[in-house]
Symmetry: C2
DNA sequence: AGGGCTATGTCCGCTGCCGCACATAGCTCG
DNA sequence: CGAGCTATGTGCGGCAGCGGACATAGCCCT
């Protein structure tokens, strides 16, 4: 595996050297592939992930079955907030969406690093707030905006998180993330492609015209991006 | 104002006596009426509320205008988590939904009470986790369940929070909370009434048949209730 | 008593998405 | 090179909820 610097993760990057050095030996760089689970509903969350290029999805279950995406996490965050918040388990699940590396830390490792009131604690507090804002916006977005707008928004957000303009994504997967039928994604994706905004082929998608996509996407994209900047960017 | 014991709030109730006594002199019991704002989007959150009978609603804005309810807070919680999480402002708003008393505390008062790693800190961490679970479930619920199910669920939750089987609520208000048209609420509420589950009249609603309502509501009600119990009840 | 306001009931045409089903094209592997 | 799988395209009937508009009824105030 190519050595990746854990400092590619914004949360880790903001830590002062002393605190980071204490954490460093406990971090393990691992590669995830789509659908790898970080934690499952009701099972103990025993590891947290600081994505270094991978993107993860949090989903909520309905009737113990249908999974609806409630938020995504990339290099700006951490997967495993329930550990930070003192919960052993969560009713939600988290899994890999886009392949890539992450810095992994055991739950005890995180808890140990949090004793006292250091920078990590504060950083994770701000990330928690950012996550709550993301969840809130998603509640609103899901009930107000139509599939096409949300698909465009999702693609923009994912591009931000992976930092590449091409990544693996099937229509089937995107349909699950948006909570719509695959057939609906087929229609809206076809529309975006013939408008020259994206290009896709058998599970690989490329963003061609970002500004164009932004015009199609709902304002939730901009709203969240600027709020994340404000909360997590300002240091 | 009738003196209400701040210990009616579960978060305050779980505090050990020493910590509560330190907080007590800073708490002020206040009465809220529907639509009273606790905080507004982008403005500093300068007070937090521990509801003692009132119910509050958090809403997210879309296009700076349309407000969609993302969660509710009653005696089990606190309004003003952004303060705890170190944010000065929030893009969301919070306002009173059902009239009643709360224990109010200034933002600085809360911050002062949090120095060191006491029980309040831990309690609020667990409440933060509970709130995130609530938000997640609402994302899923909004995209999967139909208006009738969600209305029933909302009524059940609100009844739990106010602790009475009759409270003030107009169809117009409920429509905003559910993110549907008032006309839609008129139809589903009419259905619930003729099924003998509820009774309402000009802004006052009474829950007649709780078990019946539970059969109509989506499982999100039970899911969340048991998760809140698990996180906040176990002490 | 009457005027106005608020809360509620109801109707129409429309649209976005659903459930279901089937068709096709590219990739992979024996 | 053909079999089979996976990813994508498409069509049809149906329904929930929308936007917009209008009607009625109870309440309050004068």
């Amino acid at each position: 595996m190519p050595e990746v610097d854990p400092r590619n993760n914004s949360l880790l990057r903001t830590l002062p050297a002393t605190e980071y050095d204490r954490l460093r030996p406990r971090l393990e760089v691992v590669e995830s592939t789509p659908r790898d689970q970080v934690y499952a509903p009701g099972k103990p969350v025993d590891q947290v992930y600081f994505p270094l290029g991978a993107v993860f999805s949090m989903v909520a279950l309905v009737a113990g079955e249908v999974a609806v995406e409630v938020g995504t996490i990339g290099t700006e965050g951490m997967v495993g907030l329930p550990v930070f918040l003192g919960a052993v388990t969560s009713p939600n699940a988290a899994f890999c969406q886009i392949a890539g590396p992450s810095a992994r830390l055991s739950a005890e490792g995180l808890r140990a690093a949090l004793v006292g009131d250091g920078a990590l604690h504060q950083t994770l507090h701000r990330f928690t707030q950012a996550t709550m804002v993301q969840l809130s916006q998603n509640v609103a977005c899901n009930s107000v905006h139509v599939a096409g707008q949300r698909a465009a928004r999702w693609l923009l957000t994912t591009q931000d998180r992976v930092g590449r303009d091409e990544f693996e994504l099937t229509q089937d997967f995107l349909a699950q993330m948006l909570g719509v039928r695959r057939a609906t994604v087929s229609e809206v994706a076809g529309g975006l492609q013939s408008a020259g905004l994206i290009h896709y082929n058998r599970g690989v998608i490329a963003i061609i015209d970002r500004p164009g996509l932004q015009r199609v996407a709902c304002e939730c994209y901009e709203t969240l991006r600027s709020e994340f900047d404000r909360l997590l960017g300002g240091d």
